[in-house]
């Protein structure tokens, strides 16, 4: 029995335990403990993240003559620890008052708990995959587990978006399966190492097909352009902490597989060999990433629902990860990988703040909120830290990973990609300011005069996550060893790091200095403010300049609707024109497939049916191709 076996056993027994007690009150206390237990198991495996050997599982499974086995590398561990921290935070968040309110509102709380542990289980399964078949099985599990969580919301839109998601996911799974079959058809083996061997043997057009199939499969999960349309709505409609969990890590499974398969086994040489010298696969993927940073960000700018806005940013931030990793150098890939953790930390925190606001006010519509900072100051603080991270400003962790990506683009001489990345960041700044302004700043509405801060059960995970956001920004050296091990394990150049940041020949980054200077500046600013100026007096929000008008509560004196009219005037037409057209065309293609898949979905036991279908299709394809070959 290895540690990995222990991990799987623990996760599986947690799954069983929670599914048994899910409708009992004890689940509130049990679930966080169980996630903590899994986390401890992971921490015991931490040596893998500091350059240790990968853990192999001692058992393997024979399925129709294929041998499946599992392993835990630094890459798996890195994603697993993010998953578990996100799950733990979500579990704590939902365990107290939020869960009570959710139950009272008619929500199926037991199912939500079950969905969370199913998600964790399937993700661990995927992260531990040791060959292409176990990867595929894990992939299917993850898709259906996310679906399970998405359909929990009673709203019609949520159901619709979940179905939309599963249609996309199945398309991706099909693409992945075809790619696996292509690999299998050459050498009769499903080991990961076969990918690079097979890839080298393939003809040019097969290479293009293989890379595209793999990329489509992973891009759909990650929500990269042009497969991004399912994600935002589906995540935004997921109930409360579920959205935080999914938004933080679920779609990053796509990133995991991209790193595992495309980066590790196809590699820079493989990508560059595909296509012409002017536009090879690397260029294509880089531009997909760049457009993914820009377009979803500017769609997010138009949202007036806080959860949707965040979900769209989740899509957009995926672009940075790919943009970093696709540069294939030490700093770029470190930036891309680190952004996964950074993004997970602040995205979960931000989703939780929005859910906290919803918990108290009942709405996440940005046009119906405002001025809550006095009522919910700690939630405001978390959101502030979160948006500074999301916007990528110092001293939060988002800055570090974005800095690494920028630096890599600069070193590689990619001005257009650089501008695209900056465009995404600026759009994010605009959008997150709108988020925090419309929720917490501005005028407090009359009906929110008695709103209180959320209970500690919700505050603790939010604050904990924001501490992570700050600490990993202040001392990125805590994370960078993990990144370095991941880079080593997937064969990328390894980054030189220290506690404060990275060392690099042409100008490194030391966040301890940067944060130190920033806080010194704030300190001096505070000294000037508090000691040089006179005593200040707090006034009521109605004691305000309005051209001599007397303000009353019945007339709103607040600016929230259509927050960036100038910009929207300029880009709104593009949005209405091209983006809508793109969405419509993709949706119509997808709906063509969905006629078939919906029938499966409506059947009684979808998971079993699908698994059978998948295996049958796999076999059929294998035979066909095998005969052909």
């Amino acid at each position: 029995m290895t540690l990995l076996d222990h991990l799987f056993i623990v996760v599986f027994s947690c799954l069983i335990a929670i599914s048994v007690v899910r409708n009992l009150p004890i689940v509130d206390k049990l679930a966080p403990v169980l996630y903590g237990l899994i986390l401890i198991m992971l921490v015991r495996m931490a040596s893998v993240a500091y350059g240790g050997d990968a853990y192999l599982s001692s058992f393997s499974l024979d399925l129709l003559g294929f041998k499946m086995h599992w392993q835990f590398t630094a890459l798996s561990w890195y994603f697993a620890i993010i998953t578990l921290v996100a799950a733990l935070a979500s579990a704590v968040f939902m365990s107290g008052d939020w869960g009570r309110q959710y139950r009272e509102g008619g929500g199926n709380y037991g199912m939500l708990q079950l969905a969370l542990i199913v998600n964790v289980f399937s993700m661990i399964l995927l992260l531990g995959s040791g060959d292409l078949l176990s990867l595929f099985i894990g992939w299917e599990f993850v898709s259906w587990a996310s679906f399970l969580m998405m359909v929990l919301s009673p709203s019609k839109l949520a159901k619709k978006s979940a179905v939309k998601y599963i249609v996309y996911a199945m398309t991706g799974a099909m693409a992945l399966m075809v790619a696996i079959v292509m690999i299998y058809a050459v050498n009769d083996s499903l080991e990961f190492e076969q990918i690079s061997i097979v890839f080298a043997q393939m003809s040019g057009s097969s290479q293009v097909a293989l890379v595209l199939l793999l990329f489509v499969a992973f891009a759909i999960k990650m929500g990269l352009l042009p497969f991004h349309l399912w994600q935002a709505v589906a995540y935004a409609e997921t109930p409360g902490p579920g959205a935080a969990f999914l938004g933080a890590i679920s779609s990053r499974m796509g990133m995991f597989t991209i790193v595992l398969v495309i980066v590790q086994f196809i590699g820079l040489g493989g990508l560059k060999s595909v296509g012409t010298s002017f536009a090879n696969m690397q260029t294509l993927l880089a531009w997909v990433a760049a457009l993914t940073t820009i377009i979803p960000t500017y769609i997010a700018l138009q949202q007036h629902d806080a959860k949707r806005l965040l979900a769209w940013h989740g899509v957009g931030q995926g672009g940075y990860m790919l943009l970093g990793i696709i540069m294939f150098d030490s700093i770029g890939s470190a930036g891309g990988l680190m952004h996964v953790l950074n993004h997970a930390s602040y995205q979960a925190a931000l989703f939780m703040t929005v859910v906290a606001v919803m918990y108290r006010t009942g709405t996440s519509d940005l046009n119906k909120l405002g001025g809550l900072v006095t009522q919910m100051p700690l939630t405001f603080l978390v959101m502030l830290i979160g948006i500074i991270g999301l916007a990528g400003l110092p001293p939060m962790n988002g800055f570090v990973s974005k800095w690494l990506v920028y630096r890599s683009l600069l070193v590689n001489g990619q001005p257009l990609l650089f501008v695209a990345a900056v465009l995404g960041t600026l759009g994010t700044i605009l959008s997150v300011y709108k988020l925090i302004h419309n929720t917490f700043l501005g005028q407090l509405r009359l009906e929110h005069q008695n709103v209180r801060e959320v209970p500690w059960s919700m505050l603790v995970p939010m604050l904990g996550l924001s501490v992570i956001v700050f600490i990993t920004g202040f001392m990125p050296g805590l994370i960078l060893p993990w990144i370095a091990s991941v880079q080593e394990s997937v064969g990328l150049p390894v980054i030189a790091h220290h506690l404060g940041g990275i060392e690099y020949a042409k100008g490194g980054l030391d966040m301890i200095w940067v944060s130190g200077i920033l806080f010194y500046g704030f300190g001096v600013g505070a000294l000037i403010f508090y000691f040089l100026g006179g005593k200040s007096k707090r006034v009521h929000q109605y004691d305000n300049y309005a051209g001599g008008h007397f303000l009353t509560s019945d007339v709103r004196y607040h600016y929230s609707n259509n927050f960036y009219p100038g910009l929207m005037h300029l880009i709104g037409t593009w949005y209405r024109g091209s983006f809508q057209w793109l969405e419509n065309s993709i949706v119509s293609v997808m709906s063509f497939f969905s006629v078939f898949f919906e029938n499966i979905y409506r059947a009684k036991q979808p998971v079993m049916l699908l698994l059978i279908g998948v295996v049958l299709a796999l076999l059929a394809l294998y035979r066909n191709l095998g005969v052909g070959a």
């Binding site: 009522q375 100051p377 007096k537 009521h540 929000q541 109605y542 004691d543 001599g548």
Partner: protein, 231 residues
């Protein structure tokens, strides 16, 4: 001559405090931001005073837009009762030290509108006025002279006590409030809590309170600031 009102303020023991105060007063006299509340025809005399012919900026006087930023409130003409409410709101929103200049005869005694039931006659019944510039209308030279007088008043405030009329509003709030209530009715209130400000900045005297402030307290819907609270 009015009797000197004692304010409840602790003595400043720091020997440098007076030097410091003098310096700040000097800077205050050198830098005046004005908010022109263009109530009447006198406003037309301000553009020439600001632009190249007279150039206020060389005296350190600049136009500003909101009462929060401004030091001087220029009332440039007749003040109807309805406007007076807004003028008082604006005046209370300004940050002390603040100065009021009444331009045109209308602010002195109602001017040509003296018989009108709808205009206020004597501006310093409702707020302390530092300088009146009479005339119908005063020429820009007169406006400049008035502003120069105000600057001198501020600089020589320590000796002549002419430059701190704004303190009178806090010290004798009851008097001003009484006059305001006589016009606007007894449920008159502004969003700014003058009494709290007087308390906070140590400007309250026995005449800050009186029967009018009692009346105010009775009718006031308190506008307390939203305090941050964690629980």
């Amino acid at each position: 001559m009015k009797k000197e009102l004692k304010i409840k303020q602790k003595e400043r023991t720091n020997p440098l405090a007076h030097v410091f105060d003098d310096f700040i007063r000097f800077c205050q006299s050198k830098s005046l931001f004005m908010l022109h509340y263009c109530t009447g025809c006198g406003a037309i005399e301000l553009p020439p005073a600001m632009t190249s012919r007279f150039d206020m900026e060389r005296l350190g006087i600049q136009p500003m837009v909101t009462p929060r930023q401004a030091d001087i409130l220029l009332i440039t003409g007749y003040v109807s009762i309805k406007t007076l409410k807004r003028v008082i709101l604006t005046y209370e929103q300004m940050q002390s030290p603040k100065y009021v200049i009444g331009i045109c005869s209308c602010t002195v005694n109602g001017g040509m509108y003296w018989q009108s039931y709808a205009t206020a006659k004597k501006l310093n019944e409702y707020m302390p006025v530092d300088v009146y510039i009479a005339g119908c209308m005063p020429r820009p030279e007169a406006v400049m002279a008035g502003l120069q007088r105000l600057k001198d008043n501020i600089r020589n405030d320590k000796k002549e006590h002419k430059g701190s009329a704004w303190k009178d509003y806090f010290k004798r709030y009851d008097y001003y409030l009484g006059n305001q209530q006589a016009l606007f009715g007894e449920d008159w209130q502004t969003p700014t809590d003058i009494i709290a400000e007087a308390k906070l900045y140590g400007l309250e005297t026995e005449e800050t309170y009186g029967k009018h402030t009692k009346l105010l307290e009775k009718h006031q819907t308190p506008l307390l600031p939203q305090e941050m609270r964690i629980k």
